[in-house]
Each structure stands twice: as structure tokens, then as C-alpha cells.
């Protein structure tokens, strides 16, 4: 009886080891951060004609890894530009256009353009969301005399429900959090 128990136990043990090692499965590797923004591209169309220029912050492999590329924004003096911003996720193929997501939920987003005083750039005429509060996917940049400086571009996301976005919210409002925070150097020449 005892002997029998013993061999029975060993049998169970061996069977389970076999069972366990044979039922390994291979799960596909899916690495996909659907929310990542790798690229911000600014398209400058001069009012009254002229060459369209684009500048970008580009980090195609997402945070970490290779160093991101950041253009210097070079504009002509004393001009007005119609500026459109485009956001891309290049970690997927083909790259997805995140601007559409922002435009689809304008009450939860807001771009801020904060040029340094020395940059001689003024940003105005931001487009609005449905409630008449600035959204900022498009804007108008007015340049002054030749200068070099910087501009900070921020995209804020309101996670609250409701978002409670208000005209007076600052770029560092406690109600919203940062999706984009890029400092470009600027040169007017």
C-alpha cells in the first residue's frame, strides 16, 4: 500500500512536469504605444505670397533611444505667416496623424505659443474650440526686426470629465497636463 502510494505520487509528479512543459505557447509581440507623439511639424505660409517653410521637432523612435532632431525656426523680418501645426506618431507604419485626434476633441486640448521677448515674434489669431476658447491648431505669427530668440510651444490635455477648459487657463494650469512641451530657438533674418 505504502509502496503503491509512493509510486503513484511520483507518477503524478512526472506527469505534471510533462504537462506543464508541453503547454508553452508563443504570444505575438505587440509593442504599440498608441498615444505617443513623435513629431511636431509647423508649416509657415507667408501672407501675400512667398515660399512655404516647415520646421519640426522629430523623435521617430519615441522617448529615449536616439536623440530627437529639433530645427531652428528661421523666418523673414516684418512678415505675417499663417501657421498650421501637425502632430505625427511615426512609431507606426504608416505614421498616424495625431492632429485629427486633437481636432476631434477640441474642448480637451489647447496649444500655447510663448515667444521670448527677444525673439521679436508675436503669435495671434489662434483658432477656437466650439465654446469660443482658443485651441491653437492654426495661428498667425508676426515677425519684427531681425533678432534671435526662442519660442515655447505647449499642448495641454484636459483629462477631467468635464474638462472645465476656460479662457483664462495658463499653460501650467492644474486642470491640464502636458502632451507637448518644446522650446525652439528662433532666428529672424
Amino acid at each position: 500500500m505504502n509502496k503503491q502510494n509512493f509510486s503513484l505520487g511520483l507518477l503524478f509528479f512526472a506527469a505534471s512536469v510533462l504537462l506543464v512543459s508541453s503547454c508553452k505557447k508563443d504570444k505575438g509581440d505587440e509593442e504599440n504605444e498608441e498615444e505617443v507623439i513623435t513629431t511636431m511639424q509647423l508649416t509657415f505660409v507667408p501672407q501675400g505670397g512667398g515660399n512655404t517653410v516647415t520646421y519640426k521637432f522629430d523623435d521617430p523612435d519615441g522617448p529615449g533611444g536616439a536623440q530627437p532632431l529639433k530645427d531652428q525656426i528661421r523666418l523673414a523680418p516684418n512678415k505675417r505667416y499663417n501657421v498650421a501645426v501637425q502632430l505625427l506618431n511615426k512609431t507606426v507604419t504608416p505614421a498616424s496623424d495625431i492632429t485629427l485626434e486633437v481636432a476631434a476633441e477640441p474642448q480637451s486640448h489647447r496649444f500655447y505659443y510663448q515667444p521670448a521677448a527677444a525673439s521679436n515674434i508675436i503669435v495671434s489669431d489662434l483658432d477656437n474650440d466650439g465654446a469660443g476658447i482658443p485651441l491653437g491648431i492654426s495661428s498667425v505669427w508676426t515677425t519684427g526686426a531681425p533678432a534671435s530668440g526662442s519660442i515655447k510651444i505647449t499642448l495641454r490635455h484636459y483629462p477631467g470629465n468635464p474638462p472645465n477648459k476656460a479662457a483664462g487657463d495658463g499653460a501650467d494650469s492644474g486642470k491640464s497636463s502636458t502632451d507637448i512641451d518644446v522650446d525652439f530657438t528662433t532666428s529672424i533674418q
Binding site: M1, N2, K3, N5, F6, G9, F12, F13, S16, V17, V20, S21, K24, K25, K27, D29, E30, E31, N32, E33, E34, E35, I37, T38, T39, F57, D59, P60, D61, G62, P63, G64, Q67, P68, K90, T91, V92, T93, I98, E101, V102, A104, E105, S108, H109, H157, Y158, P159, G160, N161, N164, D172, G174, K175, S177, T178, D179, I180, D181, V182
Partner: protein, 776 residues
């Protein structure tokens, strides 16, 4: 206190003077119920003095030098249910004791647990009564009631235990005898265990931990259910709880039965449900801090002579919200949120059970099959287990149409274990075991840690020797773990593969000595080795909760710990006061921690994040736990528990970050006289004092923390409980209050101390109902 000290000295003197009167002898015979087979090596303990002896080859034992009066002894034996007998001694006497084969023996864990309870160097236990008092909380919250154990939190909904400054993968958790394998490496990952399955929760550090692994640098937590029924009949238990702070409801049910027709079979079903709304601090309610949990377990045992088998299945499922004001996009946001005195009003004030993003959904399934059989006084145990852990983390997303989790991890673990307990020979007992583990982790979504497959093999041997005065134990263990990882980088076809192999070993020695019947000392030395976890090796990405860019280090070596502890318990002979002190010193070589690299910020589209890298250095943790209790009268008791820890980084000659501050709990408890209908009437009030953590790393090697530790605090808590006999059914009512003064405070070990205050006043009502029936 002074008076009782004087009293106890007096009593001590008295018993020395008149000790000659205590010369009675109690002899006895232990045999198996039914078959009347003599039982060798049963342990007989006299409860009042701790005097211990064992039955000889004929099942006979004797206890000498007993005093006249009531003598209570507990007779226990591996594989049998323990029996307690009280004998009124006027002259020397003889008793016969029947032991029934017990299911206790089905679990090697609880057997060793109870056997080692008086032996092991560092052991802390919460009994069923203490457990009842604090039920309804998470496993971490329950454990933090033990002296020397504190709580590491991420907001109001996620908590895990810290034993003597160590947590996460430095602690092993045994869930009903099975080494718990979940996604436990981070501070925001709580143990996936329902505390309602436990009848006893124990923390051990010493020889017995070698059964479970060579990597228990901080100790082992044993979560054990009650043994299954041993007599035909049934038992049912129902609990209902309400917590006022967050409108939390908990209900738990338990049903067990041993059928009369098939006495070999016994089973238990158990489940609990928990639902909680948003948590309230004294000044504001925190949005999205709700919780919803459903747990279930089933156990069945089959018992024959020299053969036991048990199957067990448990399911843990939780969905929990994470305070929405804590989700931070960039370092600038974090700095701003930390500087604010309170969270923005957008994130406070909602009183709802709704859980939105950010949130976590976690499921844990566990199945085990445990079989035990005897072959000529040798006991063999085969344990086969399988676990599946699924963790889904839902981040705040820009696009509200996204419904998928951003992190999705699946972890499968299988273990096989065979142990052999050799026959007890006079004072010797011992166990030898071998185990194997296979593990597979896969992920999808955001990268946090790679896919991996790990295999481990281990073996251990433990031997114990006991006599009246001495209790000596020694053990060794070796493990070998290999791991293959792979990651397919997002947006490319590049596969990143790594392979690791970690041989680890552990050894432990324990010596206990009884200086007298009332004074025991115990010392333990343990060497343990913990291999680096996969996140420490290979994590790579922005950690939004801390506003840092975390990078693993594939060159990390296993941590080697050398732990020494000394424990002493003294009980005054009249039992009016008791003191226990534990001193410990843990030298950890190659201790793995996170080091900020302030000169290497990582530039991302969200701005620059400070880089934090996993590195290792030698660390030293020293501390003391002290507990004193005094009976002021028959009804009034005062007790104090104090815990302190000093933890340093030896290489940098600096303090370690994130260590618990010194703390003390002073408690006054009053037993109110029983009436015909009201029994176990208790009232207790305690004050918990936590000092400010002043021992934090300096900023010599880069900024280590965003905010200085919060101020110390005092909390007042109280419990009032009674048991009403309602037609033979005991119904226990308890009304308790935590943070009664609604004190505003923040705790250093809570990651959300940057953003929010801790929970305010919480009034808790509990009702427990027990039904029992024995059909014999």
C-alpha cells in the same frame, strides 16, 4: 507599571523561595484516535511556562516539576490536529490523549509554521482575533499592524507591505502554501491576494524561509487559511462591513462541510466582494479613487490513513482607480503639482463609485494540488501549482474612443515541488526538498518590461534539534534561474534579446535558548541571494507617476544579504507584564536601487525628464522592534509597540531613500464584564505616532526627491466590539474609528504624498455571524 514591576519581582522571589512545592509529575500516553497506534515524537507544551517535551517510542511522555493547580498542555504531532487539555493537579497524574489525523498536515507550510513558531528568530503573527479586528482592508494594511511592518502606498487604493525597510521582490508571499508570482516588482503593484482567505497571517525570517526560496532577503509572509473540518458537520461564516469614509461595502461568505456519508471528503467555498467610492481626506474628496473587488476560492480535501490530498483554486479580481490629479505629463507639471498646497478642484469633490482612467484591472488565478503520503514514517509531499496573472493598466488617453489598456501583461507560472520529511529520531527532525518553476511573461501596448521565459530549479535541506533548553536549526538552499527575454522594438523589426543565468544560494542557522521558564532568547543568522528582477535589468521608459526616465541595467549582479537578528521575550511570572525586543542587522551587498543621473536628462517631446538608472551599492539596514505590555488590573491593559530602522548606502556613506520613519503605537484596552447575552466586550483606544523621516539621502549626487519628507503625525484610533448570543448563533458587532480626530497628514511612504493628504476620519461598522453544526 512601577507597581506591577515591584509585584512581579515579589512574585519572582516568592516562587524561588517556595519553588520546592512544585514537584508534581504529569505522565501521559499519546495515540492515534481510532486505531490506537502509539504516536512517537508528539510535542507536548505546557502553555503557561513554555516547558516542552516529546513522546517516546511507546507514545509516553512526562512533565516534571509541576506546581499544584490548573495545568494546560497542548499536544501536537505532524499530521494530526493539536489537542489542548487542562488538568487540575493536586498530586502527580496520568492522562491518555487521542489525536485525530488532521488536515493541518496537508499543508507543509502550516505544519512548519506551527512547529517553528516558538523557534524562529523573527516571527510575527496576526491571530484570527486580531485579523477580525482589522478585516476589510488590503493585505498590506492588515500586515502593517505588525510591529516592524509598514505600508508602502501609491495613493489610497494601492498598498503593499514593507518588512524592516524591504518590500516587493525582496519579500516572498506564500498564498496558502504557494509562492505568489504576480507583477510585483513595482511600488504601484499590490499583492494580488484576498485577505479573507486567511485565518492566520505570519511573517518569518530564518531557517524556515529556505523552503520557499533563496531570495527572501526581507522575509516571508505566510497567508494561511484555517485547516479544513476534521469532524462531520458544517460551518458557515458571514461578514458584512461598512466604511464611512469612502462608502465602502465588504461582504464575505464562507461555507465548509465534511459529509457524514463520505468522511474522507471535506471541502470549503469562500468568497468576498468589496466596493468602494472615492476616498475623502479631511478637506476634499479625491476623484477616481474607487475600488471594486471580487474574490473566490474553493478547497477540497481527501483524507485516508497515511494519505492526504487537497486541491485548491482561488481567483482574485480587482479594478481600482488611481487619483486623476496624479497623472502628470511632464517634469514641469510634476513640479507645479508638488508646489500646490492641494490638488486642483477639477480633480476633487466627486462622490461616486465610477472608476475612470487612470485605472488598473488585475486578475490572479491560482490552482494547486497537494498530496502527502507516509512511507514507513517518512512523509512525502508533492505540490503542483499553476498561476495566471493578468494586469491591465489604463492610462489617461487623448482619444476617448480608445478602450484598450495601455499596458497589458500576462504572467503564467507553474511549479512542482517534492519534499521528504525524514522520520523523527529522538530530538532530530528534518526536511529535504526539490522544486522546479517555469514562467512565461508576455506584454502588449506600452513597453515596460520585455517578454520573457524563465526556468528555475532549487533544492533545500533543513534539520532541527530540540531539547528542553535548546532549539537548534540549520538549513541550506541552492537555486538556479535562467531567463530569456525578447522585445520587438515599436515601429521596427528589430528584436532585442537577452539571456540571463543566476545561480543563487542561501543558508541559515538559528539557536533558541530558554534562560528560564519566563525568559527566552533566540538568535538567527541567514545568508540569502536575490537575483535582479526583469524590470531592474531591462525597464526603459518614462515613469509618469514619478516624472522620471527609468533605465534598467543588464550588468546587475544578484544581491547578497547577510542578516543577523537577536530576539528576547520576557514574561513576568504573574504574567502582568511582558517585554519583547528584536534587534536586527541586514548587510546587503550589491543592493539594487535607483540612482538619479542629473547630468544626463532625456529630451522628449514632453520636455526633458531626469534620468534614473538602476545601480547597486552595499547597503546596511539596522533596526529594533520593541513591544511592552502591562496589565494595570484584570480588565485594563496598556501596551506599546515601537519600531525603528537606520538604513544606509555604505558606498556613498548616505541614507537610503524611501525607508519607514520611526513609529510607536500606544494602546489602552479595556475588557468590559460579560453579561448573559453580551460576551467578549472590548474597548480599545490607540494613538499612533510617526516621526518625520529626517534620514534621507543628501543632494550631493543629484536631487534624489522632489519634496522633503512630510511632518510627523499622531493618529487616534478606537475599537468597540461585542458578541451577542442570538439563539446559539454568535453575532459579533464591532464599531471602530480610524483617524478619529480627522487629522490632516501625509505619510512619507506614500508616493502620492506629493499631491494629496491622507484619508480622513473613517468609521467602520462590522457584523459577523457564525453557524456551526457537528453531526456526531
Amino acid at each position: 507599571m512601577k507597581r506591577s514591576l515591584y509585584l512581579s519581582l515579589l512574585t519572582l522571589g516568592w516562587s524561588v523561595l517556595y519553588g520546592q512545592d512544585c514537584n508534581l509529575r504529569l505522565t501521559g500516553h499519546v495515540h492515534r484516535a481510532g486505531s490506537h497506534e502509539n504516536l512517537v515524537a508528539a510535542t507536548i507544551v505546557q502553555t503557561s511556562t513554555g516547558k516542552t517535551t516529546a513522546s517516546n517510542a511507546n507514545g509516553d511522555f512526562k512533565l516534571d516539576d509541576l506546581c499544584p493547580g490548573a495545568v494546560t498542555i497542548i499536544i501536537s504531532h505532524t499530521g494530526y490536529d493539536s489537542v489542548s487539555r487542562t488538568i487540575q493537579l493536586t498530586a502527580s497524574a496520568h492522562i491518555d490523549v487521542d489525536l485525530r489525523p488532521g488536515v493541518t498536515s496537508l499543508q507543509a507550510v502550516s505544519v512548519t509554521g506551527s512547529r517553528s513558531r516558538t523557534n524562529t528568530g523573527f516571527i510575527k503573527e496576526l491571530s484570527a482575533g486580531e485579523l477580525d479586528e482589522i478585516k476589510g482592508g488590503s493585505l498590506g494594511e492588515i500586515l502593517s499592524r505588525m510591529n516592524g511592518v509598514s505600508l508602502l502606498q501609491t495613493g489610497a487604493t494601492i498598498s503593499k507591505p514593507v518588512i524592516h525597510g524591504l518590500h516587493s521582490s525582496r519579500i516572498l508571499t506564500l498564498n496558502n502554501g504557494v509562492r505568489h508570482e504576480g507583477q510585483q516588482w513595482g511600488s504601484e503593484h499590490a499583492p494580488e491576494i484576498d485577505p479573507y482567505i486567511a485565518k492566520r497571517i505570519t511573517v518569518i525570517k530564518g531557517v524556515d524561509e529556505l523552503r520557499y526560496g533563496s531570495d527572501a532577503i526581507g522575509g516571508v509572509i505566510l497567508v494561511e487559511p484555517a485547516p479544513l473540518l476534521t469532524l462531520p458537520g458544517y460551518k458557515a461564516e458571514a461578514d458584512a462591513l461598512f466604511f464611512s469614509n469612502n462608502n465602502q461595502f465588504v461582504s464575505a461568505l464562507l461555507l465548509e462541510q465534511q459529509s457524514k456519508g463520505l468522511p474522507s471528503l471535506t471541502y470549503r467555498v469562500q468568497g468576498s466582494i468589496k466596493k468602494a467610492a472615492n476616498v475623502k481626506t479631511p478637506d476634499y474628496r479625491l476623484n477616481n479613487t474607487g475600488l471594486s473587488e471580487q474574490n473566490f476560492s474553493f478547497t477540497a480535501g481527501w483524507r485516508k490513513e497515511h494519505f492526504n490530498s487537497e486541491i485548491y483554486y482561488s481567483r482574485f479580481q480587482t479594478e481600482l482607480g488611481i487619483f486623476s490629479g496624479s497623472h502628470i505629463g511632464s517634469l514641469a507639471d510634476l513640479t507645479k503639482a508638488i508646489a500646490a498646497a492641494r490638488p486642483d478642484r477639477t480633480f476633487t469633490g466627486e462622490n461616486t463609485y465610477r472608476i475612470a482612467r487612470p485605472s488598473q484591472r488585475v486578475r490572479h488565478h491560482l490552482a494547486k494540488w497537494n498530496t502527502q503520503f507516509d512511507v514507513a514514517s517518512n512523509r512525502f509531499t508533492v505540490l503542483i501549482t499553476g498561476q495566471y496573472n493578468s494586469r491591465q493598466e489604463y492610462d489617461v488617453v487623448r482619444n476617448t474612443s480608445i478602450e484598450t489598456p495601455q499596458i497589458d501583461l500576462s504572467l503564467y507560472t507553474f511549479t512542482q515541488e517534492l519534499t521528504w520529511e525524514h522520520p523523527r529520531r529522538s530530538r532530530w527532525s528534518g526536511t529535504v526538498g526539490a522544486s522546479a518553476m517555469q514562467q512565461d511573461n508576455s506584454y502588449s501596448g506600452r513597453y515596460l518590461l520585455p517578454n520573457y521565459r524563465a526556468y528555475a530549479l532549487g533544492g533545500f535541506a533543513i534539520e532541527k534539534w530540540v531539547n528542553d533548553k535548546w532549539d537548534l536549526q540549520a538549513g541550506m538552499r541552492a537555486d538556479f534561474k535562467s531567463m530569456k527575454t525578447n522585445r520587438l522594438l515599436a515601429g521596427s523589426s528589430t528584436l532585442v534579446n537577452h539571456q540571463f543565468a543566476f545561480p543563487t544560494w542561501a543558508a541559515s542557522f538559528n539557536a533558541g535558548y530558554k534562560l528560564s521558564n519566563t525568559w527566552k532568547i533566540n538568535t538567527n543568522v541567514s545568508a540569502t541571494t536575490r537575483p535582479p528582477q526583469v524590470n531592474e535589468l531591462l525597464t526603459n521608459g518614462v515613469h509618469h507617476g514619478t516624472g522620471t526616465y527609468e533605465i534598467g541595467n543588464i550588468n546587475l549582479k544578484p544581491e547578497r544579504s547577510f542578516h543577523w537578528s537577536l530576539n528576547s521575550v520576557y514574561t513576568s511570572p504573574n504574567k502582568n507584564w511582558q517585554a519583547e525586543v528584536t534587534l536586527y542587522r541586514n548587510d546587503i551587498n550589491d543592493f539594487i536601487y535607483q540612482q538619479p543621473k542629473p547630468d544626463e536628462p532625456v529630451l522628449t517631446i514632453r520636455g526633458a525628464f531626469p534620468k534614473i538608472e538602476y545601480v547597486s551599492a552595499d547597503a546596511l539596514l539596522r533596526g529594533m522592534d520593541l513591544a511592552v505590555s502591562t496589565s494595570l488590573s484584570r480588565a485594563i491593559m496598556l501596551s506599546s509597540k515601537y519600531a525603528m530602522l537606520r538604513a544606509t548606502n555604505k558606498r556613498l556613506d548616505d541614507w537610503l531613500i524611501g525607508m519607514p520613519a520611526d513609529r510607536i503605537i500606544n494602546e489602552l484596552s479595556v475588557t468590559v464584564p460579560e453579561t448573559a447575552t453580551l460576551k467578549d466586550n472590548k474597548l480599545s483606544i490607540d494613538m499612533q505616532t510617526v516621526w518625520k523621516q529626517s534620514r534621507v539621502p543628501s543632494s550631493r549626487f543629484g536631487q534624489q526627491d522632489y519634496k522633503a519628507p512630510p511632518a510627523g503625525y499622531h493618529l487616534i484610533n478606537a475599537v468597540l466590539s461585542t458578541t451577542l448570543q442570538l439563539a446559539k448563533t454568535p453575532v459579533t458587532f464591532s464599531l471602530s474609528g480610524r483617524n478619529l480626530l480627522n487629522h490632516r497628514y501625509r505619510e512619507y511612504l506614500n508616493a502620492f504624498r506629493y499631491f494629496t493628504d491622507e484619508r480622513g476620519r473613517n468609521i467602520i461598522l462590522k457584523i459577523k455571524l457564525e453557524l456551526k453544526h457537528t453531526s456526531n
